[in-house]
Assembly symmetry: C2
Homo-oligomer: 324 residues x 2
């Protein structure tokens, strides 16, 4: 069985030299730059691992996997423009290093290129897998739209938030796995189970991300926390706090959110104190457990030998810090 | 045979109600808006007419044609952001009516939706036609990149300019026709001929556009000319003028181009005077004739009865004002 590391190596090998010396350089250099910044290559690896559940031959899944990584990086490039983010993975974002027009157009060509790579996948699975890819891409755009709309709203329900992260984050993880299953000639039943596994795990990933921003050990997490608090990012924790019945606390949070100038450390401390008071660390952790278990239930049902599932189970357990 | 008007009607009927009531409205309303602004629907009509050259049954071409129109409108939405254009087809552009993020994200989903529509085309032509669609999309992005790069360069050669408009403008017209031919079960030979017809005609269209900005009869053209001169747009005429051996004239143009404040009417008058002095009206007109004739030669070679070609010949002749 392929480990995550094996899959990452396959992906990185394929990406090495991609679009090298392609003209116009002004269009393709930013693409090479964002792809070289790396990241975990989690989504394309999930496609390979999804395929590997059903067959030892994962070649059929490589081009779709690359397409998914290209698509993912397209979303990062455009999201960074929309969010005005200056740093990603410790490096300057494309629109800061070059300019916004470059990030828009290089992002566009990256999206088209993702389809080009997808089209190289084997004929017998092509049409079905492409449909999943396009459906997924649409969900990701819709999720980003909701995310932007929620930034300027203060009355978001937990349900709305969960729906948003399902579209923006979980859909691509679920889609990556489903495409892997199709590449592995899995039945529709199996592909559906794997999709549901990915959807639940994907939601758990985002909740974990929300949680770690506040409660991660900086030494383990590698960056100092509280960034989401500083920028008023509507995380699972903040939305829960804003939905609290305790109007005193809610008003206190809103006051902090409305301040144009403030001491970052103090804001993080004060808001974290409220999260503590509302037991949001526990609540979020329970919610992650819930989605994690739900996801694993779907994986358990998958009609393949348990030994084939262990790698995937190990990867998600590790990423969600739920190793037993 | 289907006339241009027939084809436009088919397209407009398909587009009516498209994405209606789709959520999130903030994502799909701008898409509906740009599609409702209309335009000639030239590119999708060329797909239908390209198909109609080979068969009376054009249903196979409808979804690809819609995909091409969606793709075209995606490029308009993003180009308007990049060019900071505030008006298109006499209406406020999406990024002015909403904001830049909306134009970026709604453009993105429009591009993905173009693939969704493309995927509805019949199985037997799907893979080949999709390849043409993706190749074309990449060319359009590359062309836009060159166009942006040329804005800040003053040493563009005529060859570079022609290459750029071939990518940015002609490729989509040529691709639209080739996809139509494939939908009509044409041979590769015929599809290639039609592509070359479209490529040459597409270049002629852009040159005509450049020419009309300066020399159109405002009463016929419907808008007052000289917009390209005011904004220093690198048209075929300006590039020719800048490549003139007459350094006095070149410096005079560069002086006007470098002015931050000026009387628009005077600038148009003065630059037009130089274009006149350099015989650029005639030169451009000859170049249009050249590409127009080249295009028609490819159409002539097409192994279908001449009667089937008359509609297409009529359309391009009319658009290029080359009716005999």
């Amino acid at each position: 069985m392929y480990t995550l590391k094996d899959c990452q190596n396959v992906i990185n090998t394929e990406l090495e030299g991609i679009f090298l010396n392609k003209e116009p350089a002004g269009l393709y250099e930013p693409v090479r730059y964002i792809l070289s910044v790396g990241g975990k290559r989690l989504r394309p690896s999930l496609t390979l691992m999804g395929c590997n559940l059903f067959t030892d031959e994962i070649n059929n899944a490589i081009y779709p996997a690359i397409a998914i990584e290209l698509f993912h990086n397209f979303t990062l490039m455009h999201d960074d423009v929309m969010d005005k983010s200056e740093i990603r993975r410790n490096r300057t974002t494309v629109h800061k290093k070059w300019n916004e027009n470059t990030a828009i157009l290089s992002g566009d060509v990256l999206l088209v290129k993702s389809y080009e790579y997808f089209s190289k996948c084997p004929e017998n699975i092509f049409k079905g897998a492409l449909e999943v890819f396009t459906e997924t891409a649409i969900k990701v755009c819709e999720g980003q739209q909701y995310d932007m709309e929620y930034e300027v709203r203060s009355d978001i329900s937990i349900g709305e938030y969960l729906k948003m992260i399902e579209l923006k984050t979980a859909a691509l993880i679920a889609g990556a796995l489903r495409i892997g299953a199709l590449a592995g000639q899995a039945s529709t039943y199996s592909a559906d189970l794997l999709y549901e596994f990915g959807r639940n795990i994907g939601i758990a990933f985002q909740l974990q991300d929300d949680l770690l921003d506040v409660y991660a050990d900086p030494e383990v997490f590698g960056k100092s926390g509280g960034g989401d608090i500083v920028t008023n990012k509507k995380t699972f924790l903040l939305i829960n706090a804003l939905n609290s019945k305790n109007t005193g606390l809610v008003n206190f949070i809103k006051e902090w959110m409305g301040m144009a100038k403030f001491d970052k450390g103090e804001k993080i401390k004060e808001i974290t104190r409220i999260f503590d008071e509302l037991n949001l660390r526990e609540l979020t952790s329970e919610k992650i457990d819930y989605y994690f278990s739900m996801g694993l239930e779907f994986l358990d049902k998958l009609p393949v030998p348990d030994s084939r599932k262990s790698e995937l189970r190990k990867v998600v357990s590790k990423l969600l810090d739920r190793e037993k």
